[in-house]
C-alpha cells in the first residue's frame, strides 16, 4: 500500500476515479470526521502537525475534485503519469432521473414482450394493411380486430390500458350491437381503443359509429 502522503486525490478518499461529485462530498465529510479536531478515532494517533497536514491535503483534494475544471486538469495530469486510464475517468455523464412510471413500463416491456405503451415504430397508420383498412368509409368490428392483430396487441392489454372490460371490447370487435352501451359511452370507448393503438381517435370512432 502506498503511504498516505503519496496517494493521489482519489486514493486519499478511497474513491474510484469515476466517483460522482456526490460521492466525493460524502467521502470528504467522512474524512473530516475521521481526521478532524474533534475526531476520537485519530486522537493522539498522529503528531498534531501531521494531522493538520493530512487535513489540509484532504481539503486540497476535495477542492480540486469538486471543481469540474480543476478535476479534469488533475485527471489529465494523472493520465500523463500513467496513474489513470482515460476510459476510467469521470466524464460528468450523470444518469438522468427516470420517472417512476417509465421505469415500471420498461420493466414490463422487458418481461412481458408487450409494454403498456403501444408499438413505437413504424407509425401504425403507415403500415400497408392498417392504411388500407383505415381508408374505408366505414370500420367494422372485424376491421378493428385486424388492425389490432396486425399491431400485435392483445385484447387484454387494451382492456388494461383503457380500463374497458374485455367482454365489452369483444362486443365492439364482433359487432354485437345489442351488448354495447349508449352511443355516448361507446364513442368514448372507441376513442380510447383507437388511442391505444395510436390511431386517430376521432376518425375511428366516427367511421365505426356510421354503421349503427
Amino acid at each position: 500500500m502506498k503511504p498516505f502522503d503519496q496517494q493521489n486525490y482519489y486514493e486519499v478518499f478511497d474513491l474510484p476515479p469515476d466517483a460522482t461529485p456526490f460521492e466525493i462530498r460524502q467521502a470528504y465529510k467522512a474524512a473530516v470526521e475521521l481526521y478532524g479536531d474533534d475526531a476520537m478515532a485519530t486522537y493522539a494517533f498522529f503528531p498534531e502537525s501531521q494531522r493538520k497536514k493530512i487535513l489540509s491535503r484532504l481539503e486540497e483534494a476535495f477542492l480540486t475534485l469538486v471543481n469540474e475544471k480543476a478535476r479534469a486538469d488533475y485527471d489529465q495530469a494523472l493520465i500523463r503519469n500513467g496513474e489513470l486510464e482515460e476510459r476510467l475517468r469521470y466524464k460528468g455523464i450523470s444518469k438522468k432521473p427516470i420517472p417512476l412510471f417509465e421505469l415500471k413500463s420498461s420493466h414490463t416491456m422487458k418481461h412481458g414482450g408487450s409494454g403498456s405503451s403501444m408499438p413505437e415504430s413504424p407509425e401504425p397508420a403507415d403500415m400497408p394493411l392498417v392504411h388500407e383498412i383505415l381508408s374505408h368509409q366505414e370500420l367494422t368490428g372485424n376491421d378493428l380486430k385486424r388492425i389490432r392483430r396486425e399491431l400485435g396487441v392483445s385484447l387484454e392489454r387494451i382492456a388494461q390500458e383503457t380500463k374497458v372490460q374485455p367482454p365489452l371490447l369483444r362486443a365492439i370487435e364482433e359487432d354485437h350491437f345489442d351488448d354495447l352501451p349508449s352511443r355516448f359511452h361507446l364513442q368514448g370507448f372507441l376513442k380510447s381503443y383507437a388511442q391505444c393503438l395510436r390511431l386517430d381517435p376521432q376518425a375511428v370512432a366516427k367511421k365505426y359509429m356510421e354503421r349503427i
Partner: protein, 314 residues
C-alpha cells in the same frame, strides 16, 4: 513459531480498567461452551485478577510455581474451573520477582505456553506497555485490543499498538542491526511509516522482511463499555486508521454495551456472563465470541497472505 498447536489470543490494550480481564473471562466461557478446550492465562504478572472474574477467588496453584521451578512443567499450574472445557493458569499473588520477569525466564514461559495442548489460549495482559506485556502480545498474530470509546483509552491503545509495532520490528531485526539504524534518524521513530521509509532506503531486504512480519498481524478490536450515545462508527474508524497509516490489518469485532451489573458480578466474585446471561452486554460478548470462532475457520484455511482470498474459485 508459525504453527502453534493452539490458537493464541493475546488480549491487551494499554489502559487499565477497560475490561480486559472481564472480556477474557467471558470470551473463555463462550468458547468453552462452544465445546472448545480453552485455557485462560493471566499474563498480568504484576496485577493478576483474572481468577476472580471467572469465579475462583482462591486459586490453589499459580504461574509462580512454574517460574520459581517448584513444578516441572507449566501444565502442572493449570487449574480447573466450573466448566469442563475451561481451564486457568492464575497469576494470583505473584511475587515482586515474577512481576519483573527476567528475559530468560520470560522466554521459558512463552515457549511453555506455546506447547500447551488447547484449542484456544487467551492471554490476559496487564495495562501499560512494558516489554513483558508487549512480548506476550506479539507472541501471536491474533492480538485483540480491548479499548473503551474514550480519548484516554484510545490514546493508550494507539500507544500500545505503536509499541507492539516497534517491538515486532525489533524482533525481526536483531538488536545489533537495529542499533545500526537507530542513529540514522531519531525523528523518524515518531511515526512508524517514516521509520519504514528510512529502512527501505537503507536496507531494502530488511524492510521487506519487516513489512512481511507486520503484514502477518491479524489484529482484532473490541470497544468495551459502549454507551448508547457513543458513536457506532468509532470501531471501524480506528481499524481504518491503523490499516491506512500503519499497514496493519485490524478487524473490528464489535461494541460491548456498558452494564452496571458487571460491577455487581465482580463484587460477588462470579462470572458475569453466567450470572447475567441475557443482558445486552452478555449478548454482545457472545456475538464477539462467535465472530472469533468464525474468523478461526477462515484464517486457518485460507493462505495467510490475504483474508479475502478464501473464496473458492469456480
Amino acid at each position: 513459531m508459525d504453527d502453534p498447536m493452539a490458537r493464541i489470543w493475546p488480549i491487551g490494550g494499554g489502559k487499565g480498567g477497560s475490561g480486559k480481564s472481564l472480556f477474557v473471562g467471558a470470551l473463555g466461557s463462550y468458547l468453552a461452551k462452544a465445546g472448545k478446550a480453552t485455557l485462560l492465562v493471566d499474563a498480568d504478572l504484576g496485577g493478576a485478577n483474572l481468577h476472580t472474574v471467572v469465579g475462583i477467588p482462591h486459586p490453589t496453584r499459580t504461574v509462580s510455581a512454574f517460574i520459581n521451578r517448584e513444578v516441572d512443567s507449566l501444565e502442572d499450574t493449570i487449574i480447573e474451573t466450573g466448566h469442563p472445557s475451561l481451564f486457568l493458569i492464575s497469576g494470583a499473588r505473584n511475587s515482586l520477582e515474577v512481576a519483573n520477569l527476567p528475559y530468560a525466564q520470560k522466554l521459558r514461559l512463552l515457549r511453555a505456553i506455546f506447547k500447551l495442548p488447547y484449542e484456544h489460549i487467551l492471554l490476559d495482559l496487564g495495562a501499560g506497555t512494558s516489554f513483558n506485556t508487549l512480548d506476550f502480545f506479539i507472541l501471536s498474530n491474533l492480538g485483540i485490543f480491548v479499548t473503551t470509546p474514550e480519548p484516554t483509552s484510545i490514546e493508550n491503545t494507539y500507544h500500545f499498538i505503536r509499541s507492539a509495532y516497534f517491538r515486532k520490528i525489533r524482533q525481526v531485526l536483531k538488536q545489533t542491526q537495529l542499533r545500526a539504524f537507530h542513529h540514522h534518524a531519531k525523528a523518524s521513530w515518531k511515526t512508524p511509516a517514516a521509520f519504514l521509509d528510512m529502512l527501505k532506503q537503507e536496507a531494502p531486504g530488511r524492510a521487506a522482511s519487516v513489512e512481511k512480519a507486520l503484514g502477518a498481524f491479524r489484529f482484532k478490536l473490541v470497544l468495551n463499555q459502549f454507551r448508547k450515545q457513543d458513536d457506532v462508527r468509532l470501531g471501524l474508524q480506528i481499524c481504518k486508521v491503523c490499516q491506512r497509516h500503519l499497514g496493519l490489518q485490524m478487524q473490528f469485532l464489535g461494541n460491548i454495551r456498558f452494564d452496571d451489573r458487571v460491577h455487581y458480578a465482580v463484587c460477588q466474585k462470579v462470572s458475569f456472563v453466567d450470572k447475567y446471561p441475557y443482558t445486552q452486554a452478555a449478548l454482545d460478548l457472545r456475538a464477539v465470541a462467535q465472530a472469533i470462532l468464525a474468523t478461526e475457520k477462515v484464517e486457518s484455511k485460507a493462505p495467510p497472505k490475504k483474508v479475502g482470498a478464501s473464496r473458492p474459485s469456480p
